[in-house]
Amino acid sequence: MSTGTKKVILHVGTPKTGTSYLQHVLYHNRRQLRRHGITYPADRHDAHFLAALDLMRMPWGGLEAQAIGSWDKLAESVRRAGGAAIISHEILATASRAQIGRALDSLGHGHGTEVHLVLSVRDLVRQIPAEWQENVKHRASLSYGRFLAQIQDPRREGRIPTWFWGVQEVPDILDRWGHDLLPGHVHVVTVPPTGGSRDLLWKRFVEAFGLDGIDLQLDGERVNPSLGSAETTLIRRINRAANESLEPAYYRPLVRELLAHQTLSRRRKTPRLALPPDVHPWATRLQESWTEEIRRRGYDVIGDLEDLRGAPPVTAYADPDHPDESLVSSAAVDALKAVLLDHARLQRDLAQRDAELRETQRALERAYLRPTYRWRERLVRRLESGGTGQLVMKAYRRARGRGAGSA
């Protein structure tokens, strides 16, 4: 990649378009990219997610505390870097115009930096069920029917529709993010239809991000896998039963990671979640209007807008609101087995920690019994009881780099 003009490639969505895999590859190939003049500034795999939370001041189950200052740090790394830099996270799609203005300014837009926007897009026939599933994996307990009714309501009120449209309404996202950019600097990457070559999307990303000719390690799982219809129903039922008592900090590792991603997503032979046939015409009409708008605006399309047409309605629709109970119960058995095995692992860890703790306590007690410890303790008490002694202790603590507390 040329290192002449400074360039920032900003990938802002949409969710469920291979973004997790892309970010996984970019993160694990940071050094190789750097050798080719491309910076992917991240000291942890979710660095850009945290930066996006920070930019949008978005609480996220406690993670926001780790995000404080992340955007400025990321932007500074980008400004410092020569050549090109890549930023990628799909929740950036929901940013407001003011937040986008701040983001672009901080990256040097208008001050010699050429900002390119990348939006990867997939047909609504697949995106709508994927979004409901993602909501369920984030503790939502509303039925698929209610979700569909809410997103079809033109008023778009409430948490679910505002988020859905914020991250999925492609023309609006492009309008907000591309407001100050040349159409030629806005790149729309289309996700190939189901059944196509698995490498095709990656080749499109390579083109969009200028990764051609760079030998990247592409191993690793394609993370954020999807669930079947019955499996999603099971997670929704677990949410309804446990939401009130399970703290957010535990939900993510236990339900989202252990149950959904590591266990239930491996059940690949059960019916997949799909768009109901009666919602299909509405979704495809909407999709066609979006496609036409993208074409009209003259953006750089990487792939084929025909990819966004979406598959025809499924013939055997597996309704997650009226599931095959035998499938839900077999999914529940798999989930229970996973929880048992994980619990056993934790019991082993706990026993080992207990043994370590006991050994540490014994060592500590031995240390307390040493005469020198008792002498030091007595000396501190005596010094603290007098004015001169307090000054001595203060000087000693300052020398040791402590403001207060024990000697």
């Binding site: 920070d54 001041r57 609480p59 406690g62 404080i68 929901t94 505002t162 008592s245 979006w290």
Partner: protein, 386 residues
């Protein structure tokens, strides 16, 4: 109509909107629906039109009192934090579009939308007020204690002790569990969580407690019983409805002024603001800032107390009886008697319009963190209403 004519009309609509922005910046109060003028239309003061929420919030502020130009700029440049409706367009500015959220008449926006924008600014002000003073170095010789139970009774005493170099904890500590009537304790716990780690809206939270049982923090017998094996029954005291005695047991002889009570709407505003503060500072700083910077400001504004709906009365009575019975069977000292659930004579839920009114007063008031003695008689930076 030709495309050129359509574009011309669109430009005129947009110019009218920019004129309204200029009008609001100048302290105007005309609603968008009554704004027909092109005055100020050439004053495009930004890259994009601010959202309807921001514009309407500024208009409402202008109706109360003229904000400083800096505050007006901040309102127009603010983004509503967290999840929720995006910045909305003004109805009648852009041609009907198949994309984006439907444009709105700003005066019809629910108060909740404006509160959301206001919390972004209040959160910034809370953080700008700076951290409370560091407590003094812990004393080596001090009474060891732990103070648990009702947050309204414990927090102020603990804060005073910590500030005086007497942090809680330590071996052979005297454990004091404080409590008062169950309905007050529930309000106090919700208030404390609103100022801290966050909590669901009052009606939802209360319903969840009624299903699950009392929150751990005010489950007085369980708290006391948990400490008996650790420090011995002789060091555990449950003190009911007697803040003075609780203070003395933990070594505080001088009276500690109770925290100023917060109205239902004030707690709700704190509840909405705390998560935004949490995106700016670490959790422990958030709680300290909320309690020591925002709470005193909110306590200065009158409003109805928070009450518990009457339908929960049987549950409150039942919980009170259960607590009394369990406290009586404990092997620790119990000072006083758990009072019957209080009739608080307030509102059973905050009101969004009143919360918005309070948020605007906070924004228009003296800088958060300004000591009362230093506050000017009339707020600085305000311009004369036009």
């Amino acid at each position: 109509m030709s495309p050129t004519a359509v574009q011309e009309i669109q430009r005129e609509h947009e110019a009218r909107a920019w004129g309204w922005v200029a009008h609001l910046r100048d302290g105007g109060t005309t609603p968008w629906s009554a704004w027909g003028s092109l005055a100020g239309a050439d004053e495009q003061s930004g890259r994009y039109l601010p959202g309807a929420q921001q514009l309407e919030l500024l208009r409402r502020l202008n109706l109360i009192r003229l904000p400083s130009p800096e505050l007006a700029d901040r309102v127009l440049g603010a983004s509503a934090p967290g999840r929720g409706r995006p910045d909305l367009g003004l109805v009648g500015v852009l041609p009907d579009s198949a994309f984006g959220p439907p444009p709105v008449d700003p005066s019809r926006l629910p108060a909740d939308e404006l509160v959301r924008v206001a919390t972004a600014l209040i959160a910034e002000d809370v953080v700008a007020a700076g951290d409370p003073l560091e407590p003094r170095t812990p004393r080596l010789l001090r009474r060891r204690y732990r103070l648990l139970g009702d947050p309204d009774l414990t927090d102020v005493v603990r804060d005073a002790l910590v500030a005086d170099g007497r942090p809680p904890g330590g071996r052979r500590a005297t454990v004091v569990v404080t409590g008062t009537d169950v309905s007050s304790m529930l309000v106090h716990v919700w208030t404390a969580r609103s100022l801290g780690a966050g909590v669901r809206p009052w009606p939802e939270w209360l319903a969840a407690q009624a299903r699950r049982g009392l929150p751990d923090r005010i489950d007085l017998p369980t708290l006391a019983a948990a400490w008996v094996p650790r420090v011995g029954a002789g060091r555990v005291h449950v003190v009911l409805d007697d803040a003075r005695r609780a203070s003395r047991l933990v070594g505080r002889r001088r009276r500690v002024a109770p925290a100023g009570p917060l109205s239902a709407d004030a707690v709700e505003l704190a509840r909405r603001t705390a998560p935004v503060v949490g995106t700016l500072v670490a959790p422990e700083r958030r709680t300290a800032l909320m309690r020591h910077r925002l709470r005193p400001v909110l306590a200065g504004w009158p409003g109805p107390d928070l009450d518990i709906p009457r339908r929960y009365r049987p549950w409150l009575v039942e919980q009170t009886s259960a607590l009394r019975r369990r406290l009586a069977s404990g092997d620790y000292a119990v000072h006083g008697v758990l009072p019957a659930p209080a009739e608080r004579r307030g509102v059973t839920a905050p009101d969004e319009e009143r919360v918005l009114a309070l948020a605007m007063q906070v924004l228009l008031g003296p800088a958060i963190g300004t000591p009362m003695a230093e506050q000017p008689a009339s707020e600085t930076g305000q311009r004369e209403a036009q």
